[in-house]
Amino acid sequence: MTENLLEVTSVNKSFGGVEANRDISLSVAQGSIVGLIGPNGSGKTTLFNSIVGYHPVDHGSIRFQHKEITRLLVPDIARLGMLRTFQQTRIYNGMSCLNNMRISMPCETKGLKSLFMSLSTKQTEKINEMLSFVGLYSKRHLLAGELSFGQQKLLEFAMALIADPKLLLLDEPTAGINPTLINGLIERLKIANQQLGITLLIIEHNMRVIMNLAEHIYCLAHGQILAQGTPEQIQTNPIVLDAYLGTS
């Protein structure tokens, strides 16, 4: 039995009168790929934000590697090895792809000294390897802001990978990407999971993608966990179908 890397226990989060997340519990096993689906506005991104410490939760606990992280700040959680990507891709527009990657490398030293360090050749090689992995090596000197949307998504993915996370939260990695590129991205996600040993928690609207990737899927609706199970179970679950298509 594999250990749980991330454990979310009965998390509540409301914005004013809107209960975005209500009593949500989920767990992500070490080395797995877990999917999070649900209609628009069902609270998926809110849950992501709660997990990475972007806003405090009203109630409940979040544990990462058995460590309580509910009250930690965003950068501290990121440094523990849990990173997220954004639904609206966020990269450093005014910097070259290479520099986007360089600043995403984890620090080798701690404290004040780390502010003034420069990169070793070994790290540069690793960056080039990672850029080739996502197919952006030839664009490495371009400003990130000049890349196409799909390429920016790939860059953001590469930036997350180079930071060497244990758990990666991906918020709609394939939204707005053309079908050919999506296939490539699925392959890369699998490679990241199997060969780099990165556990993945993925929000995704593209059912083909998520059913392909995930071993276990949670379905959210109206801020609550509606159903969970293997892709097969989710696909045949009448409650899930109702949530997406509406009852007639």
Binding site: P106, G184, E187
Partner: protein, 356 residues
């Protein structure tokens, strides 16, 4: 390298300048002060995208700190000056750490507004504090030898300090520090999500600017010879605004931009004073409008547009491949487990149609 000759030429011109133009020694010394102003403002304003209107605070604090030490230390002129300059830098740095930790929690425009009051408040406080001469200001001790030697001395002092500022920043921008500042400029939320302690970087950046400004202020008080709280030390409406203008005019976010901006600005400003006395501020205003309208990216930005950077040679050879080609090759080489059960499972499922 061609660059080396340019540097040597610049160095030679700078060293010879006070002897070639002996009448302009004070102005030339001031030129280096302007360069330091623009360079230090650009650390926050250009590289990090945080417009600070309060950097003049550190300049004034350094100036007063130096003057107080010169007055009270009992040392002879040069040791006291050296100690005072150093103290000015250190006190400015500590002040930046103190204020920065509070103020740099604010982001973007809110930070800019927050800094607006700093210089004004400091000027008011200095103007009412008897220990530092209150409204009548302070007069640093007289330079022990004749005036021409004094001007030459300060020329070289500011020249060396400007060089130190330039190369320190050059070194800082090349490493992780510079990258982090740029990352904060481009997307602070992302930088935080990637694990950067952005507030630490912001405070560090401000402290670096404060250190160089504080030292400059300390020496500047001695060059001018009189410290007025509002017109010299915390001169927000002149130096405080100029440092921003020079950095923007030259091209913010670059290393050479502020330097070029400062030189161009200072020379034009002096020409306006000489030729258009009475209208010099109007002419200066017109110049600013021209710069903002026609060179919004500054002189350096305009130059970069006209002469785009050459592409690296290795980029041309290996990178003719399209990204898709590299992609498939990479995947082929990376996938060493073709008969992985899970993969076949996925491939099988790939062909199924999904009800959702």
């Amino acid at each position: 390298m061609n660059n080396r000759y340019y540097y040597l030429l610049l160095l030679f011109v700078s060293l010879a300048a006070p002897f070639v133009l002996p009448d302009y020694r004070t102005q030339l010394a001031l030129l280096w002060v302007m360069v330091i102003f623009a360079l230090t403002w650009d650390v926050m304003g250009g590289q990090m995208g945080y417009n600070s209107f309060g950097n003049i605070l550190f300049f004034g604090v350094g100036m007063y700190a130096c003057a107080v030490i010169q007055r009270d230390s009992g040392l002879s002129y040069f040791p006291a000056l050296l100690l005072g300059i150093a103290a000015g830098g250190v006190i400015a740095l500590l002040l930046a750490l103190l204020i920065g930790n509070g103020l740099l929690g604010l982001r973007g425009h809110y930070f800019a507004i927050g800094t607006l009051g700093l210089g004004v408040a400091a000027g008011e406080i200095a103007g009412g504090w008897d220990y530092i001469g209150a409204g009548s200001g302070m007069t640093p001790p007289l330079f022990p030898t004749e005036l021409t030697v004094r001007d030459t001395f300060f020329y070289y002092l500011f020249f060396i300090w400007a060089l130190l500022t330039f190369f320190s920043l050059h070194w800082l921008y090349q490493g992780r520090f510079g990258l982090a500042l740029n990352a904060i400029r481009d997307n602070e939320d992302k930088a935080e999500a990637m694990g950067l302690h952005t507030t630490r970087y912001k405070v560090a950046a401000w402290s670096v600017a404060a250190l160089f400004l504080g030292v400059t202020g300390g020496a500047m008080g001695n060059l001018i010879g009189f410290i007025d709280p509002k017109e010299v030390a915390f001169a927000g409406s002149t130096y405080g605004v100029w440092m921003i203008l020079m950095a923007i005019a030259g091209g913010k976010g670059t290393l050479w931009g502020p330097v070029i901006g400062a030189v161009v600005f200072h020379i034009t400003q002096e020409i306006f004073w000489t030729l258009l006395l009475g209208w010099q501020r109007v002419a200066l205003g017109a110049l600013i409008i021209v710069i903002v309208l026609f060179f919004p990216q500054g002189i350096m930005g305009w130059v970069r547009q006209q002469f785009p950077r050459r592409i690296d040679s290795d980029q041309l050879t290996s990178d003719q491949l399209t990204s898709d080609q590299i992609t498939s090759e990479q995947i082929a080489s990376k996938q060493r487990i073709p008969d992985n059960p899970r993969q076949t499972h996925h491939q099988r499922k790939n062909k199924q149609s999904h009800p959702l």
